[in-house]
Every structure is written in C-alpha cells, then in structure tokens.
C-alpha cells in the first residue's frame, strides 16, 4: 500500500516492520523526526521495540551495541555532530562484528553551525568497517533499511550497516511510499542471526585485549567480510524484489542510467541523482550522449560494476562531500578504480552545506565538462552555483 510520508517516516516504518528489539537514540536535526515517529508509534502501542532515550550519541550507539550483543535487533539514527560524537562506538561495533543498523540523515559538519544537507558526515566513515548504503528517495530509505538487517545479519557479513539519506531533501520530503505489510516482510526477513550472543548460558568474552597477530587477522576478517558482502547484497536485493517490492531494481549495488551508449557518464550518489536524471534526459533531447551512474553502496565498493559502466567514457564525478585537500571522496574512489580506463575524469565538489544544485545548474556543469574535457581530460574543482558565486566571504587567511 502506498502512503504519503517523509524519508524519516519511511525509515520508522521499516524499523517497526523489521521487529527491532531495542531502539537507542539521541535527537539531532534532521534525524529527529525518525525517533519522534518511533516514540509516537510506541505510545500508541504499534511498536514492540523498547526505546532507550539516551543522553548522548556515544551512548546511543553503545545502547544499540549492548542490545544487539545481548541478542535482539537494534537500531539507531543520527547525523553530523552526532555521528562524530559517536565515532568511537561506530568503530567498536564493527570491530566486534556485531550486526545492527543505523540510519544517517546526512548533514554538514561544524564549525560553523549548519543544519543543511551534505554527505561528508556519512562519507568520512568509509574506513570504519561498516556496510554503507545510500538511498536516493524515501522509498529506497525504507527498502534499504529493511534489507540492511538481513545483509548485516548474514553469516557471510556479520557487520553493522548504515543507510544514508540526504537530510531534509529526503528526510523531510513527503512522497508516496510503498509500505509492505508485516507478513510480506516476515517472509523476507528471517529471525535475528548473529555471530555470538552475550548470555550467561554461554559465557563468551568479547573485545578484550588482542595480541598483535590476532588483531591483524581479525581486522583482515572484516575486509574479507566486506568483500563477500557484494554477493550477499545482490542476493538480498533480488529476494527483496521478488518478495517485497519490485519497482526499484536491487539486484545491483549501483544503478546505471542510460549508460550503455553514453560518451559521457556522470557519477553521483543520493537525492540529487533524481535531478541529474532529468538533466540527462534533457541533454539527450539536445543530442548529447550522456548517462549517469548512481553509487548506492559506498561500502562495499563494487569495482566490477563501476569499471564496466565507466570504461572508455568521459567521466564527471559529483561529490556532495569533501575530503578536504583532496576534493571529493567519490572522485578519489572512482579515480583509484578506473585509472587509465577512462577518456577523461573530472571531479567536482558542489552542493555543500545545503547549497541547492538543480537540474539547470547540473546541465550547465555537464556542458562545461563536455567542452572543457576536450583540452583538459583531468580536473578537480569546486563548482559554485550562482548563489555561491555572489558571496563575498573573508576567510581567516584574508583577515590577516
């Protein structure tokens, strides 16, 4: 059944349907309406999960970790400063090989304060040992949250998974969303599965001091688990398509759009891929052979899919995130994947801190790439939409 709801409400619905045992959360904009919705469901007796309203994000992840370790499905959500504040526990959970799920409603990171959308809070965690999916619309946010429990709990993976979605742009936009019924979800999502349960019946110890050689092997096991998650994600996606919802294809990690005959391919992630598809269609009407590759999984990184989609093309990578001093993280990842295989590779950082980049601006950017890449096949730069160009801002260097 389709219901009009925001990305955050869609995530809350998924948490309810996944029969989560414990939700451990601390509010932060723009994630807050997820936990408000869950609290409302709880108050109305619709949600079976226990909710711990902890006193910080560090504790939010810790509470989810404890609950998961003690044998139930656990969920948390956060963004921006909150994600940074819980950073230590994010790593701890992955190192403990503990399946659980977190949703990140992305937001810029301070200073200065900024509540608007940017993906840097999400992308900066790509070394932490998590499975990292990123939704394009509220429907995907719901679907991927449901899938993440199964991916995370698959014995070939046994790692936590986070699902990112653009703050406000997805978290607060209401669109029709297909919400599956309980029995459908139950047929897709089996009972909780995890590598070990902390329980007096089987007194295991977890996370104590490891000798260097043991530690190194354990870290490598995470690398291998992420590697084997490729197949798991595709398998889970196909099963989701056949049992739950088929209008979005989940059989691949990433999503190509009009790539087959394209001379130019734009790489993107998240909500603005929708605007980009409009730009691609409009440029194609004008005779430009352009396509798009949407990154849906930052970890695992599907090198095979990406090489196949980009080989021999001229590639423009859009980053709504920064790896300051090195441009955008997607560009870095793409560059290391397709080295020598592409005709041109540009990486541009834009849409930072809530700056909107619409269809028109994307078309302009693509045209700049089409013209400029003739003489300059490699380039890394920040693209300023008109509003940004008009700003006069003194940076600390200029104040001197």
């Amino acid at each position: 059944m389709k219901k009009v709801m925001s990305g955050n409400e869609a995530v809350a619905s998924a948490v309810k349907l996944a029969r989560v045992g414990v939700v451990s959360v601390y509010p932060i904009t723009p994630q807050t309406t997820i936990i408000e919705k869950l609290s409302e469901m709880k108050a109305q007796g619709e949600l079976s999960a226990d909710i711990i309203r902890v006193e910080s994000e560090h504790s939010a992840m810790a509470g989810a970790f404890g609950a998961a370790a003690a044998g139930v499905r656990a969920f948390t959500a956060t963004a921006s400063q909150g994600l940074l504040y819980m950073h230590e526990m994010v790593w701890w959970v992955a190192g403990s090989r503990m399946p659980l799920v977190m949703v990140v409603a992305t937001r810029a990171v301070g200073a200065p304060w900024n509540i608007w959308n940017e993906n840097t809070d999400f992308t900066q965690l790509r070394d932490a040992g998590w499975i990292m999916g990123f939704a394009m619309n509220p429907q995907e946010a719901l679907d991927m949250t449901l899938q993440s429990f199964r991916i995370s709990e698959d014995s070939r993976v046994f790692l936590p998974m986070m699902v990112g979605m653009d703050g406000f742009i997805l978290s607060h936009t209401k669109v029709p969303v297909n919400v599956p019924d309980e029995s459908t979800v139950d047929s897709f999502l089996p009972l909780r599965n995890q590598p070990y349960v902390i329980d007096p019946e089987d007194p295991v110890g977890m996370g104590n001091m490891f000798q260097p050689q043991d530690y190194m092997r354990l870290r490598h096991s995470i690398e291998l688990a992420i590697k084997s998650s490729h197949d798991v994600i595709r398998e889970v996606g196909r099963d989701y398509n056949s049992k739950v919802y088929h209008e979005i294809d989940y059989s691949t990690l990433n999503v190509p759009y009009k790539v087959d005959d394209a001379e130019y391919v734009v790489v993107s992630m998240g909500a603005w891929s929708g605007d980009l598809m409009e730009a691609v269609d409009s440029l194609r009407e004008k005779g430009l052979n352009v396509g798009m590759l949407r990154i849906r999984y930052l970890r695992p990184w599907a090198e095979d899919e990406i090489r196949k989609a980009l080989r021999g093309r001229k590639v423009l990578v859009l980053d709504r995130a920064t790896s300051l001093g090195r441009g955008g993280p997607l560009h870095l990842e793409i560059a290391s994947t397709v080295r020598g295989d592409v005709e041109a590779l540009w990486g541009t950082v834009t849409g930072i801190g809530g700056v909107s980049v619409g269809k028109g601006e994307l078309e302009g950017l693509i045209m700049e790439f089409v013209e400029g890449s003739k003489s300059e096949p490699e380039r890394r730069f920040w693209y300023y939409p008109e509003r940004v160009r008009r700003v006069e801002l003194r940076t600390p260097r200029e104040v001197e």
Partner: protein
Amino acid sequence: MLEVRFHGRGGQGVVTMANLLGEAAAYDDLYSAAFPIYGAERRGAEIESYCRISPHPIRVTSPITEPDVVVVIDPTLMSVNNPTVGLKKNGIVVLNSPHPVELSWRTFVVDATTVASEHGLIRSGWPMVNVVMLGALVKAIGTVRLESLEAAVREEFPEKIAETNVKAMRVAYDRTKEVVRVAA
C-alpha cells in the same frame, strides 16, 4: 508537473499545507513531493514550503524556483517581500486578502482570516488559515478534488479539529473569487 509554492510565517502551518496537498494528490492517484525549506523555523519568520504534483514519479528534489502557483497565506507578506518571484508568466496567485488585489498573474482571493475566525480556528491567538486556504487553492487549480483534500485533512487531524477545518475549507472554496483585471 504542477509546482506550488506556499508562503507564510512560522507557526501558521505552511509546511502542513504542502503536506496535505501532497496527500490529497495521492487520493487522486497522482504522484506528489512536498517539502519545507528549513532554517528559519522561528514563530513569525517568513517560511516557504513546496509541493510538486505529477501523473508520473517525481525525480526532481530541488526547491521550486519557478512555480506554477504561489499561495500566500499571510497578507502582510505581500508588502514586505516578493512571494511571486520566479512565478511563471501564465502562473496563478492565491491570496489570503479581505479585498481584491490586482497582480500581473491570474489571481484568486479569499478572506481566509475571517473564515478561520468565523469557525473558531484560533491557535494561541492566531487565526489558523492554512487548511482554509487549501480550499481556495483547490478552487483555483482544480488539480485535486475537494473530497480528496477533505480526506487528507481527516487523516492529519483529530476528528473535531478536522471537521471544523473541513467546514471552513468548504466555505473558503465557495467564497474564493478570481480577480478580474481592470488594468491591461
């Protein structure tokens, strides 16, 4: 695709308006995307929200800069800023105003503040005109049915508040008039 932009002040329920229109569209088997612009959510601050409606899935996510319809629920906004900025040439303005206002677009006017007061739609001393103005919008655009909007309102609010709003919305629908332009 129809793009509607709502203008009001924080606390007047502008965000709810966009959401309700989106939900009403769903009853008429249309796709919709409703979202607010965030940042100035202080009570009394100027605030915008958006709703796109289309027979096809909506992929665009950016704020609406060239709307087909502008809805202004706070009459004082017309004089302090320019809610019609970017409005398409053949666009429509729907205004809460006690008297006709002549603009360069097709303009529909209703005295929503009076309608809200007549129905006792007052919250913390402010007349709540948001749902009332949706009646005027539907009269102006006809894209979604009044019944669908009523269903969305009943879904959103507790029964008593919903019924009062539905009544007021119908009254506003009836009282909404297109301003016939005198000047060329």
